[in-house]
């Protein structure tokens, strides 16, 4: 199958396809940011996307989530063509993402950050809102309760009324992931979740990623620079350079691939090796 490495277990190959990107190309003006990109993710996988700075990884994420519309190619999410749909619809269909630099609603409370993600499922109309009827009260209480349960899962319940911007960095990242999961995704896209974290925080992050994957039955795609994280948790990797895929394979294979070494360290490094 296109967009996947060979040699993954047959049990994994038998699962349904969650995300399929076919021959995606994207231009910024005359600059070809992504070229002929193919990727297929199956249910429950945890795959990584790596590459040197400027390789086009974040652009791929922005293309998947509808921030940009690809110049060529198509994106399918669970069999539905989502190419060109507005971002908020793509999110409501079940793709969630976090950002390279954390983007919380930093002047709002921790609880409100999560409740905002529940907005499409609030279940009351504008009329209910303005007249504050019983239906509104019940749904609002239910929504708050669910958001609080959610925070409890992430150990943020004690801080529900704190201002999000005042949390320490590690907790902000945790909250951002919680907020993304509150949109009820099936596919979670993490853009450099470990950026700016110390080794201890990275360990906690890895635990968290494993935990949410089990708990919410997620498929996860992540971009990361930290090799320790990538090699430890990703089942397989896609390596990009200058907008093109230069390798797709298991972490061990990718590490030994001369093209990957060249992309990261230069041609001389390959010759030395």
């Amino acid at each position: 199958m296109k967009g996947r490495p060979e040699g993954l277990p047959a049990e994994v190959e038998a699962r349904p396809v969650v995300l399929e990107i076919r021959d995606m190309t994207h231009f910024f003006g005359n600059l070809r940011a992504v070229h002929n990109f193919n990727l297929t993710l199956k249910h429950g996988e945890l795959a990584g996307l790596i590459g040197p700075n400027g390789a086009g990884k974040t652009t791929v994420f922005n293309l998947i989530t509808g921030v940009y519309v690809p110049t060529e190619g198509e994106i399918f999410f669970r069999g539905v063509n989502i190419t060109g749909l507005p971002s908020f619809e793509i999110i409501q269909m079940g793709i969630a993402r976090t950002f390279q630099n954390i983007r919380l609603f930093s002047n709002l409370s921790v609880l409100d950050n999560v409740r905002i993600a529940y907005h499409p499922h609030a279940g009351y109309s504008l009329w209910d809102t303005i007249v504050r009827n019983r239906h509104f009260q019940a749904k609002e209480a239910e929504l708050t309760e669910r958001a609080q349960e959610f925070l409890a899962i992430f150990g943020l319940e004690e801080r529900q009324n704190d201002i999000a911007g005042s949390l320490p960095y590690g907790l902000q990242r945790r909250l951002e992931i919680a907020r993304a999961l509150a949109t009820r995704p099936q596919l979670l896209i993490l853009d450099e979740p470990a950026a700016g974290m110390n080794p201890q925080e990275i360990d906690q992050l890895m635990e968290l990623i494993h935990f949410i994957r089990e708990r919410f039955d997620l498929t996860i795609l992540l971009v990361e620079h930290r090799m320790r994280l990538v090699m430890n948790i990703c089942e397989w990797l896609t390596v990009m350079d200058f907008g093109e895929i230069i390798a797709q394979g298991l972490p061990q294979e990718v590490r030994d691939n001369p093209r990957v070494v060249e992309a990261y360290l230069g041609r001389q490094a390959v010759e030395i090796k």
Binding site: F105, Y118, H119, Y124
Partner: protein, 414 residues
């Protein structure tokens, strides 16, 4: 029955009732003279306009200079309705109210129709809604006008004069506000797509266009009774304290209920980070339009109140220099603070239009536009978050949900 309200809501109801009775008594007993009554009504109108702006700018983050344009639309539309009514013509009421209602129905149809298409561009949407509006008002003002007018005459005209007056005034206020809302909706579809600064410039343009149109109401628009740049006279003086009070409380309660809900949180999230809001599944374009339309509706309502208190409208009072007034008030009171806007709005009118006008020498008026910017400048330097910052009265404060009980938390964790 009262027990279903929370403490702060009870206090709010009690306080407003006391306020209503006290002011009504003062006006009735003649302690508050006509001048000060006008100042109070004016203060309420300006505060309503400014609350609308605070919703658009302070809570939703869209820097707008168009608020006075919608204020003008509301004022002129409602004034025209009642002017015609007192001259024995119900067509103003019939066209504005039924036209707006028909337009809203057509919008629902257009929205349902557009949803079937994939990737509709903004200009297509704008064109569709504009055509629907034109169709609605054309139908009501053209073929159906005589039927609707005689229907209104038949129903309202049969009542006693006092009763009919109040009903017509209600629909005049509603019609003016709806028209302002419709104008903001159509204007907002293409323009809210712009980033914040560009949006500000576009809304400034809107205010200028409205002012120029008002200058030419009698010639270009064909409303001879509005008398263009000479100013509209002969508007019935129907605004009374109960009307001011009810409209004001309506604006405060609707805005508060809207903000303290999921929609309100969505409005705030757009201010905080538009991109992040989109990427947690919020339809940013609709949220912006909603805040803009509701804010303009408030301005239109305030316009009706003001027009029927002053009994005189002049395009010059809606020029773009004036449109900075609500902006200054909202910044002084604190962006995103309803309490700040309410107190500052009243203080602004009571001090600058009331007290200072009475007690300072006549030359002060000339200096006003030196004083305003100075106040603003000092404010920016000394207290950039506004007089009240994020402070809210208990009734207007965002509720802080209590933490769940420990037991439940444990169950979930397992």
């Amino acid at each position: 029955m009262l027990s279903k309200f929370k403490g702060e809501t009870l206090y709010f109801i009690l306080f407003s009732l006391v306020l209503f009775v006290v002011v009504q008594f003062f006006i009735g007993a003649g302690i508050v003279n006509n001048f000060w009554q006008g100042i109070i009504f004016w203060g309420a109108a300006i505060t309503m306009v400014t609350l609308g702006l605070n919703l658009i700018y302070g809570f939703n983050g869209q820097f707008s200079l168009g608020q006075y344009g919608f204020y003008a639309i509301g004022a002129y539309a409602s004034a025209d309705i009642t002017y015609r009514w007192v001259h024995g013509d119900a067509s103003g009421l019939a066209v504005v109210v039924f036209g707006s209602i028909l337009a809203l129905l057509l919008y629902a149809l257009v929205a349902a129709g557009l949803r079937r298409f994939y990737n509709v561009s903004t200009m297509t949407k704008f064109t569709a809604y504009t055509l629907a509006t034109i169709l609605a008002f054309w139908v009501v003002a053209g073929p159906l006008q005589s039927t609707l007018t005689s229907f209104v005459m038949g129903t309202v005209g049969g009542l006693s004069a006092g009763m009919a007056k109040e009903i017509v005034f209600f629909f005049a206020l509603l019609g003016g506000a709806m028209l302002a809302g419709i104008a903001s909706f159509l204007f907002g579809i293409p323009v809210l797509e712009l980033g914040s600064d560009y949006f500000g410039i576009a809304t400034l343009g809107f205010t200028i266009i409205i002012k120029v149109l008002l200058d030419n109401t009698d010639t270009i628009l064909g409303f001879p009774e509005m008398k263009g740049a000479r100013g509209m006279i002969g508007i019935p003086k129907w605004t009374t304290w109960p009307w001011v009070f009810v409209s004001f409380i309506f604006v405060v309660v609707v805005m508060r209920n809207l903000l303290h809900s999921s929609t309100g949180r969505a409005i705030l999230s757009v201010r905080e980070d538009e991109r992040a809001a989109t990427l947690v599944g919020i339809d940013v374009a609709s949220v912006k339009i909603l805040a803009f339309v509701v804010g303009s509706f408030f301005a239109g309502l305030a316009g009706g109140i003001r027009a029927h208190d002053l009994a005189f409208l002049h395009p010059q009072s809606f020029n773009f220099i004036q449109s900075f007034n609500p902006l200054i008030i909202v910044v002084l009171g604190g962006l995103g603070s309803m309490t700040g806007t309410i107190l500052t709005g009243f203080l602004w009118i009571i001090l600058l239009e009331g007290a200072l006008r009475l007690y300072l020498p006549a030359g002060f008026e000339t200096w006003r536009f030196v004083v305003y910017p100075l106040i603003l400048l000092l404010m920016m330097l000394l207290r950039p978050e506004g007089l009240f910052g994020q402070y809210e009265l208990p009734f207007l404060r965002r509720p802080l949900p209590a933490p769940r009980k420990k037991q439940a938390a444990k169950e979930v964790a397992q």
